[in-house]
Symmetry: C2
Subunit: 400 residues, 2 copies
Amino acid sequence: MNIEEITGKKNNIGIVEQKIFSFEGITLDSGIFFGPIDVAYETYGKLNEDHSNAILVCHALTGDEHLAGYHKEDLDAIIAEQDPIQKKRLVRKLAGWWDDMIGPGKPFDTDKYFVIGSNVLTGCHGTTGPSSIDPKTGKPYGLRFPIVTMCDMVKVQKKLCEHLGIEKLFCVVGGSYGGMHVLDWTVHYPDCVELAIIIASTAQVSPQAMAFDEISRRAIMNDPYFNHGDYYGQDKQPNYGTQTARMIGHMQYLSPEAMQLKWGRKLQDKDKPDYSWDCVEYEVESYLNYQGKIFTERKFDANSYLYITKAMDYFDAKHDFSSLAKAFKATKAKFLCISFSTDWLFPTPEVKSFVKALRRAGKDVAYTEIETDKGHDAFLLEFDTLSKLVKNYIEKNGDI
Amino acid sequence: MNIEEITGKKNNIGIVEQKIFSFEGITLDSGIFFGPIDVAYETYGKLNEDHSNAILVCHALTGDEHLAGYHKEDLDAIIAEQDPIQKKRLVRKLAGWWDDMIGPGKPFDTDKYFVIGSNVLTGCHGTTGPSSIDPKTGKPYGLRFPIVTMCDMVKVQKKLCEHLGIEKLFCVVGGSYGGMHVLDWTVHYPDCVELAIIIASTAQVSPQAMAFDEISRRAIMNDPYFNHGDYYGQDKQPNYGTQTARMIGHMQYLSPEAMQLKWGRKLQDKDKPDYSWDCVEYEVESYLNYQGKIFTERKFDANSYLYITKAMDYFDAKHDFSSLAKAFKATKAKFLCISFSTDWLFPTPEVKSFVKALRRAGKDVAYTEIETDKGHDAFLLEFDTLSKLVKNYIEKNGDI
């Protein structure tokens, strides 16, 4: 198939497929041994002879392992679509979430590097999570799934790398939630990372972010159809509560400035309010409702959202050490850290704080703040600036 | 009764009582005539002969008309309480919410002024609201209560003032939600206000605040016991959802700085996490849970919360005018406006923006920003600074 002809996209990686790596399990931070574990992953490009060109991309909160290119069945759906507007929408929607960054000649150049994406433990995109079948009961785990930490998730990524024959990653990169994974890699596997790229992320979330996570979880757990997490196979799903949780998330991704610019106080397709409970009054409400709806339409599992946010709250890069600088002491990685000026979920001062700790630990750190009004969302929106930064950094530091 | 002996409080106004003013109704902003309306109110001090010493205090989102002093039955409860810690708690809890500001010799000096507090339309503290009985059906209104605006609420306050024989208020004062009422008074009753004191409030809320309001309402409406607003008399009430909504509110009252200082990432009475769904892990979660619980314990009506936040979203002081400066053009009031440096619900730049409009309209405006790490909550916490500012302003401008 000619991908460019079908999608209009140049230098696309083309058809990719999900793979599964299964292994016996790991001992979790909580002390429990948990397994078996399936890991859903994708790879792009070729691993070189000495296995030194691997880049691991860690996805954000609700992201997944499908980083770039198209799955065969998705391309078929795009080909079958006759409406040009719908076709364009599918081309955008069905590509991997970092398609612009990964491919031949792109910042993560698949002509040179072997790029890996893997879905986190507790996810709902193929890796074992609360929606998976518990082999002991033959039923989905639900809330009987053990609570896991970021370190547990990274431990699973490490197992996958070993399975692929990779002892040392040329680069580990991630934004937001994924950036925390990158930090954990450098702390717990100090000899295994050459370059660490951390975008819009911090060494721990603030109490404000923890509190919003807790409120989001309440919105899900109080949904009339949540049924203590055992909603699988039910006629009705806890969608409305899950949408509310997602809306709370989106609030943190948007800067107040961006909200003002984008919607302000504009009414939704009308000149004056309806003063009614049966309608959406403002554009900003409509946007958030839409974000909530597409989240449940793509069937993101409500329980996964609970586990994933919980892991974020627990994460503290200095957890096993007396200071952040000590946590970073052993790593041999070089760091590129990027923050966004209007990000209030992972604000610049908090990014600077772990950058300082890295410098105290004597590490090679490049740090930059990107000026933007787009808030935390800039991680997926400020493509031009981000791709230039990353491309330059990799070219400068890549000796392969 | 000797109030000082019972409560340990000096210059307390003493025993006060709720009064009810009933009238036929008003035409709402939505065009509907709504009535009859009961208004719950309290007064402190004496109205002077020419009725020129009245101060109207407009309460915040979930506040009420009980501004100062004690109700007789509450004092009896304090007297009956034997445990000194519990007694102290009751003394604090049962006093009016602005007890420190209103009384003999206090900033709002009841030896000189006649102070009025009234519960807003749609409230749940005596004024007609969704929990009131609809005389047409003999049942509580629930969501059949019409949606009302801030202007409607102020129209009801105006009716109350007329009933009390007051044509012109010496002062209208309010913080947060109440500050919006003050602004509306100056816009819609330009000849009726001498001094307008607006604390931590703006001429309209931001799209960010509107969005959080919408999310809060979703949390209530999706509660399994909400029953489309007809939960009155049910065994179970939509408490959990209402608590979640309140938690979202509190998040906006707290500055990230205050959250960091107060709780940081401290675990709740333990050295390491339990990694369990059955417990509270962090202090910040515990605080918010507590705030949610006391909100439903004081039986704040879930439907009232929906209507009150909706009115906040609709409020725009310039609504009937082409600009904010034009909205303020006609008023004869002098203004004192106060903002708090770490308030992100009603941030200083937004306060400054209506202060600028007031100046463009040629008004006499004093503005000050109070430096604090307490966020929006400072409105009830920065008592010393606030009371001095208000006292000085009233003394300087009060010619009675």
